[in-house]
């Protein structure tokens, strides 16, 4: 009777594992109800199969093939380790405001995540988004001031901010944030920015509601003096936009320009100036860089294995020099 290891190392089991993995990938991509964690099961089966095969067959753990297989196994371990510690989230940052982990919306978080996000310190600086004619988004440039760094860091598009392994990517999500100061009667003044819906995606409804600390409902609309022309290139810089803030305070409608105030029996609302908010996607995976090198090393191993087989080496040599035919004939 064959030992268990021989069964686990069976090349037929490898093929079954491939088929199951393909099925799991296909199922998770076509049916949103199927969790992507189903991909882990055939991956584990293939890992066990490979590990058993490597212990049984010397050729699978030697040379380029051995390097390829070792990197595959280590890569799977790295992916699993990364998932245990990963973090995915998103946040909207107001110009001039410091990053606060408490306002981050967590998308997914590994059970062993280090929680270092809460310790990150940086501030949103100015940002601009360039648009090509036809309202097509081009370059995004956002400046971030990181604690301990002397110069602001410019990020955007393919350049994230990386702080303590956490990567912040600008997104298409951004908009206006009017800076308001509310002075309640007999209370201390509070200052803050209200994020309006993403612009220009929701240019038709630049409105928002906000409640003062006393519970007074304030309705806000932003009306741009000159909306951007669709067929021209333009730059979205919220601080350079001239606009009127229309405020509805306790049933009274007031139009404010920066520096103007709206009064009510319960307090005074001052429209300080127009700022912007930028949406970021946050990604943390401690094995990102090791995984890249493992993948490259695996391919180097595979290439080494393929080149070490004599027929291929001869064939490759042949590929780079014209073939001389023993008996020419007319062919296509």
């Amino acid at each position: 009777m064959k030992p268990l290891r021989t069964h686990v190392a069976s090349p037929r089991l490898t093929l079954v594992g491939f088929a199951l993995l393909a099925l799991a990938v296909w199922a998770t991509s076509t049916d949103p109800r199927v969790s992507s964690s189903w991909i882990a099961l055939p991956s584990l089966l293939l890992a066990a199969n490979l590990l058993a095969a490597m212990t049984l067959h010397r050729k699978l753990r030697r040379g380029g093939l051995g390097l390829f297989h070792a990197c595959l196994l280590l890569g799977m371990v790295a992916v699993a380790w990364g998932r245990l510690q990963h973090y995915e989230g998103r946040v909207e940052l107001t110009q001039g405001a410091a990053f606060e982990a408490t306002v981050v919306e967590t998308m997914s978080r590994g059970p062993w995540n280090d929680g270092a996000l809460a310790r990150l310190q940086f501030e949103q600086g100015p940002w601009q988004v360039h648009y090509a004619p036809g309202m097509r988004r081009a370059q995004t440039v956002s400046e971030l001031l990181v604690a301990g760094r002397s110069t602001p860091q410019r990020v955007g598009d393919t350049e994230p901010l990386v702080v303590d392994g956490y990567r912040f990517y600008t997104t298409h999500n951004k908009g206006f944030a009017p800076l308001l100061r509310w002075q309640g009667v007999g209370r201390e003044a509070v200052t803050g920015a209200v994020h309006l819906p993403s612009y220009p995606l929701f240019d038709h409804k630049q409105e928002q509601e906000w409640r003062t600390p006393e519970g007074v409902l304030v309705k806000l609309w932003l009306r741009l003096d000159t909306p951007p022309a669709e067929q021209s290139a333009w730059v979205f810089d919220p601080t350079a936009v001239a606009a009127t803030l229309v405020v509805e305070l306790q049933g009274r409608r007031v139009e404010l320009r920066p520096g103007q105030e709206a009064f009510s029996p319960l307090g005074t609302l001052r429209y300080e100036r127009l700022l912007g908010w930028m949406g970021y996607r946050i990604h943390h995976d401690p094995v990102l860089v090791p995984l890249f090198w493992l993948a490259l090393l695996a391919i180097v191993g595979l290439a080494g294995h393929l080149l070490s087989t004599a027929p291929l080496r001869q064939r490759l040599r042949g590929l780079f020099s014209p073939v001389s035919s023993p008996a020419p004939r007319r062919t296509a």
């Binding site: 037929r12 393909a22 991509s29 393929l306 014209p322």
Partner: protein, 286 residues
Amino acid sequence: MNVAAASSWLPELPWLWAGVAACVLAAGMAWSVGWRAAPAGPQSVGGRVGPPWRLLDLALLLVALGLALRWQRLGHGPFLDMFEILASSLFSLGLIVSWAARRDALLRAGAPIVLSLLALLGLWLLATDPADTHLPATYQTPVLWFHVLLGKLFLGCALWALGLAGVLLLRGTASGARAFARVPDDTTLDAHAWRVMQIALLFESLMLVAGAVWAQDAWGRYWAWDPLETWAFLTWLLLVGALHARRSLALSPRRCAWLVVAVFALAFVTFFGVPFVSVAPHKGAV
């Protein structure tokens, strides 16, 4: 879609269409030359490229001119919509097989299959909207070049192997047996096709890694199972599975040739089918 641009005359179109016409002509010529019964004699294939391959070179030149004009006009390479993907693939795959045919006499026998596939891409191009495209900022990175180049090299190698496997399979018919009588035996063809497929595996693996690097920088994730990522991974899996099956199940050359066809078909669907279900090559990722 820029309807205005689509409906106006575009300077690159005459060159591209002329290139497609030359390509279709090359395919037709390959069938008329290659499908003739081979004269009696020892097993071998010709030493020089025939007229269909030279016509393909002319087609590539015309397509290259068309692509260059479009590139100059729009200010970016052909990376975005179906029209650009088809045009750039026609050029790059044609270039790869043209180069390979000068070095691989066996591939020259597979001209009817290889050139027909290129003609199919060309005819498809004629039916595709040539509207102007806008290159998103996330595409403006050198990593994209590596990713696309490696993808073309992968598909080019797969097409090369398909040409060899096609000869093997066509030889199963009476006409094919006569036409390819002097091409070396099935075992030789099969071994050669799978050597090329091994090179294809290297390029596809590198393409996936380059794609993951690009995705991480552009969209903050290295892998998200978007349609193109999913189908590219399934293609990689099928190729790896086919290589394992070939070794462990001791399959006949004909079955191995069908595996080449299956891998190429899946790769073809990934490259040219997924854009049907996805507005951009990577859906929602622009």
